[in-house]
């Protein structure tokens, strides 16, 4: 579904150039939830933003479905983007538009007729559980509701892929859980491929089928999500899982052998 080959990106800063992505290779299968995990500054955000060319890579190829994303220009690129939904850490909803018009935005941009937009918006708001918030403005919603609007907006155009840029990082644990459930639900119902980046282990644990660990702009480990917990190989993965292990050990010591998390 998604194939990334030798993707490289450097940033020019006043102190010189910084290598953000170093010859990244990735493959995401159709219909799976793929998680990229890493610490801050590892390059995960740059990676996901290259997938819809919000960030311009220096070299390498990205193919999504039949499109060679790295080759597209102008109108063709915009059409490809209409089939790649994206959700953001800070939601990025339009504050001057109601929930209805936020979700209608990508449809209007794609040039759909008004009556079709109306039907689709209501259908998708139903799916994310916000049918009663159609006329509300984003400022009148909670964080979790805002992200649901973000998800509805990303799904409105019936995309092939959903990109999630730290979508739960600004939410409390309970809301995070409900948003993850929603993503899992959507993934199953719509057979939608989801690529997400995160620094939260729970996200990976709850919903990811496959994962990649990114460290200093390089993929240091890939495989099924379970592998990260059962057999972490990279430094980053060990550090993430190590925190869990410490608590497990401590709890075993307090409650005696056999207790676990």
């Amino acid at each position: 579904m998604i194939v990334v080959e030798q993707l490289t990106k450097t940033y020019q800063t006043t102190k010189g150039s910084v290598l953000a992505l170093d010859r990244i290779d990735l493959q995401v299968r159709k219909g799976e939830i793929f998680g990229v995990i890493g610490f801050s500054g590892a390059g995960k955000s740059t990676l996901i933003r290259c997938l819809n060319r919000l960030e311009e890579p220096d070299s390498g190829r990205i193919r999504i479905g039949g499109d060679d994303i790295t080759e597209l220009r102008g109108r063709r690129l915009r059409q490809a983007r209409q089939k790649i939904g994206m959700i953001f850490q800070h939601f990025n909803l339009l504050e001057g538009k109601t929930v209805y018009h936020n979700v209608a935005f990508p449809l209007a941009v794609a040039g759909h007729p008004r009556d079709r937009i109306g039907r689709r918006v209501r259908e998708i708001l139903d799916l994310v559980g916000l049918a009663d918030k159609e006329g509300a403005y984003p400022a009148q919603l909670s964080g979790g509701q805002k992200q649901r609007v973000g998800i509805a907006r990303a799904l409105a155009n019936d995309p092939d892929v959903l990109l999630s840029d730290e979508a739960t990082s600004a939410l409390d644990p309970q809301t995070t859980y409900s948003i993850l459930e929603l993503l899992r639900d959507i993934n199953r119902k719509l057979k939608l491929t989801i690529v997400l980046i995160t620094h939260e282990l729970e996200v990976l644990q709850h919903i990811c089928d496959s994962m990649a660990v990114i460290e200093n702009g390089r993929i240091v480990e890939t495989g099924p999500a379970e592998k990260l917990f059962l057999n972490p190989e990279s430094d980053t993965a060990r550090k993430f899982v190590g925190v869990l292990e410490q608590y497990r050990a401590k709890r075993g010591w307090i409650e005696g052998a056999g207790a676990g998390i």
Binding site: R78, M86, F88, N92, L93, P106, A139, Q140
Partner: protein, 222 residues
Amino acid sequence: MRDDLFDLLWEALRETLYMIAWSSFFSLLLGLTLGILLVVTDKGHVLQAVPVQKTISLLINGVRSIPFIILIVILLPLSRLIVGTSLGPTAAIVALSIGTAPFLGRIIENSLKEVSGGKIEAAIAMGASPLAIIFRVLIPEALPALVRGVTIAIIGITECTAVAGAIGAGGLGSLAIRFGYQRFREDIMIATVLVIVLLVQAIQLTGDFIAKSIHNRRFKIE
């Protein structure tokens, strides 16, 4: 107080309102164009064209650095060319529009720059064209700030109509100079100033009201 006062004031007020309305309209058209271009042609924006951005910016600074009363004189031939005369309120509209558009352009630029980059990125990610981003994201999202900025600019235009009055544009400024100052009619001077003060208050209150109602609709928690 003499009985010609109200007739004179009424006539001058009508001329002033006529100049404010049309100058604001044309200045807004020009200013919006300049403001939008300044923002979207900037580095990293949706229609990046840095040389265009720099040129417009220089042009705006150039026009803004000319004192308005001198600008009117410079633009007299243009007024004659466009409206056929260099005297009266209609002629003044040409100079007022061109003279205040750069200021309005800067104000609009500032308002549009307040729209967060994240919203623009979200629109790009949805495949929106640059035009869609300008008219469906930038302008609607900046609307309360735009209304407040345009209010400031219209008050600026009101001041400028009074200045234009000094060199033959008519209106309240002209009345104050010709009658109040040159003919020592203190009653006219005071009345004119009073009317201008009230006019500016009315414009500010209207602007505040519109901006506030847009803001409340979007951000009031129910």
